[in-house]
């Protein structure tokens, strides 16, 4: 007698479809390499060899660590400022009203302008990259937090007041969970931007990190190595997202409607 097949779990199905998407991207890349040739787009095999070479030579580890530090430190510092001012803006109208146009201006300023200024202010090195990441991440978190604070349920706040909930409990039990729907996509966006901006700042400042590696590879016209650095940077971003944000998404998904992976989605 045939045993009925057990349906795949949603997480496994999601992983299978995710792999299918990555395979489609790899297929498109390989097709591009075959059509345009190695001087425009190196093949998957050439890039793979370059990745192995970078890892074996011991260049990849320190560079990835440096970019990770620039991206995470900048994202944490800028995100914390944006989050705290967003909470303050939600509690005190003048703070929100004063901060909003400032952060809108920061959000609209091209990161490249900040890189140039940061190079003049901090000199070449990791400081410029970290600063540029921080100033890029802060407005993303500020706007999401302020929106969340303004959308929170006043009835629940009154209930908590009547039950004499202490301020810290109101923050952890009411404010933070209510902000989760706004913060989780904003954090994913900020983290992705942080890696992009960190690498760009490193390229321009000649600092250590993936950006420094890309700058060196570019000066040697070494396309497979350039692509290898890009692949390694994306792998680290995906790993950071899986370790830092996926647990938050899973926790949030357990209480109702799903949350998109990113505010851009």
């Amino acid at each position: 007698m045939a045993v009925p097949a057990r349906p795949l779990s949603p997480a496994l199905l999601s992983a299978i479809w995710g792999m299918a998407g990555l395979l489609a991207l790899a297929g498109a890349w390989q097709w591009g390499a075959m059509v345009f040739g190695p001087f425009v787009l190196p093949s998957l095999a050439e890039t793979g060899e370059a990745v192995v070479r970078l890892v074996d030579s011991g260049k990849a580890g320190p560079a990835l660590l440096a970019t990770l530090v620039h991206a995470l430190a900048g994202c944490a510092a800028g995100g914390a400022v944006g989050f705290l001012l967003g909470v303050a803006g939600g509690l005190a109208m003048p703070v929100g009203a004063m901060s909003y146009p400032v952060f809108t201006a920061l959000l609209g300023t091209p990161p490249i302008a900040w890189v140039v200024l940061a190079l003049l202010w901090f000199g070449p090195g990791g400081g410029a990259a970290t600063f540029t990441v921080a100033i890029t991440a802060a407005p993303i978190l500020f706007i999401a937090t302020l929106q969340g604070m303004r959308s929170r349920d006043r009835g629940l706040a009154e209930m908590a007041q009547l039950y004499r909930a202490p301020a810290f409990m109101r923050f952890t039990d009411l404010v933070l969970p209510a902000l989760a729907d706004f913060l989780i996509p904003a954090l994913a966006t900020a983290l992705a931007f942080s890696f992009k901006v960190a690498v760009m700042a490193e390229v321009l400042s000649g600092a250590d990190g993936v950006g420094g590696g890309i700058a060196t590879a570019r000066s040697h016209f070494d396309l497979p190595e350039t692509m290898a650095w890009i692949v390694l940077a994306i792998a680290v971003l995906i790993l950071a997202d899986a370790l830092l944000l996926a647990p938050l998404r899973r926790r949030r998904a357990g209480r109702g409607a799903p949350v998109p992976l990113s505010a851009e989605a």
């Binding site: 009835g155 629940l156 209930m159 009547l162 004499r164 909930a165 039990d173 969970p177 209480r255």
Partner: protein, 264 residues
């Protein structure tokens, strides 16, 4: 004891409450009955301390005060057990102890063990309101303020919850100030019914009675008897209702009560 003396409330030019004296003793279930928008909820909010009266005195000798709102106001991200334990957590009680107390009350209010882990989105309206009642009574309050907590529920469910509430109140020995615009609900629940006039609110009647939960027919009869009093009928009449229509409504209510009593 909760004492409200010479209480007045104005919002700008609008007078909401025009001088009310009300005293509620320990273990008493007092229903504030009045038409919609007459200022009952405002009075409850003043008693709760979240709104200030324009004039008058509020003396609250009750130490533990809880409130049940018209909507359940549950945390969407917390399960029934944690929602019921919210007040205990606010009071600083440890996790295991507060969850045990919340569980016991929820089970008494008709929850099954499997329902305790459900979030509000997985519960019906009646179940959510039971969680809100459990949250209030988990505190072992000596005063519970209730703002039309059953108004969004159907009649059968409302009757069930009224019986559960009365049993809970008698078990806990808590005083309750219960706001409603439903005469039959007032009659079924109250030890005392205080009738408010339309806005600006003042007390038009203060009736002491025995709660009539046991018989629907008797509750209808008592409601009709209340509405036969001209000052109460006038206070509860919808705006623009003629005296003739009111008399007809009172008569229909009385006949419905007699028919229901005869069926029993």
């Amino acid at each position: 004891m909760l004492s409200l003396s010479g209480l007045r409330l104005r919002f700008g030019a609008a007078e909401i409450i025009a001088g009310i004296d009300l005293h509620i003793g320990a273990g008493e279930l007092v229903v504030l009955l009045g038409p919609s928008g007459c200022g009952k909820t405002s009075l409850l909010r003043i008693a709760a301390g979240v709104e200030r009266a324009t004039a008058g005195r509020v003396e609250n000798g009750f130490r533990r005060v809880a409130m049940v709102f018209q909507d359940p106001r549950l945390l969407p991200w917390a399960d029934a057990r944690d929602n019921a334990a919210f007040g205990l957590k606010a009071a600083g009680m440890g996790k295991a102890e507060r969850r045990t107390i919340a569980e016991a009350i929820l089970l008494r209010l008709g929850f099954s063990a499997g329902d305790l882990d459900k979030r509000p989105s997985q519960l019906s309206g009646g179940m959510m309101q039971r969680v809100a009642i459990a949250r209030a009574f988990a505190l072992s309050p000596d005063l519970v303020l209730m703002d039309e907590p059953f108004s969004a529920l159907d009649v059968g469910l409302r009757h069930d919850l009224q019986a559960l509430l009365r049993a809970e109140v008698e078990g806990a020995g808590a005083a309750v100030l219960f706001v409603t615009h439903d005469v039959t609900e007032a009659v079924r629940l109250a030890d005392r019914i205080v009738v408010f006039s339309p806005r600006p609110a003042c007390v038009v009647a203060d009736v002491t009675q025995a709660p009539m939960l046991a018989s629907v027919g008797a509750a209808y009869e008592a409601s009709a008897a209340l509405l036969r009093r001209a000052e109460i009928a006038a206070a509860l009449a919808p705006p623009g209702a003629s005296p003739l229509a009111l008399a007809g409504a009172r008569e229909r209510l009385s006949l419905a009560g007699k028919a229901s009593a005869a069926r029993r």
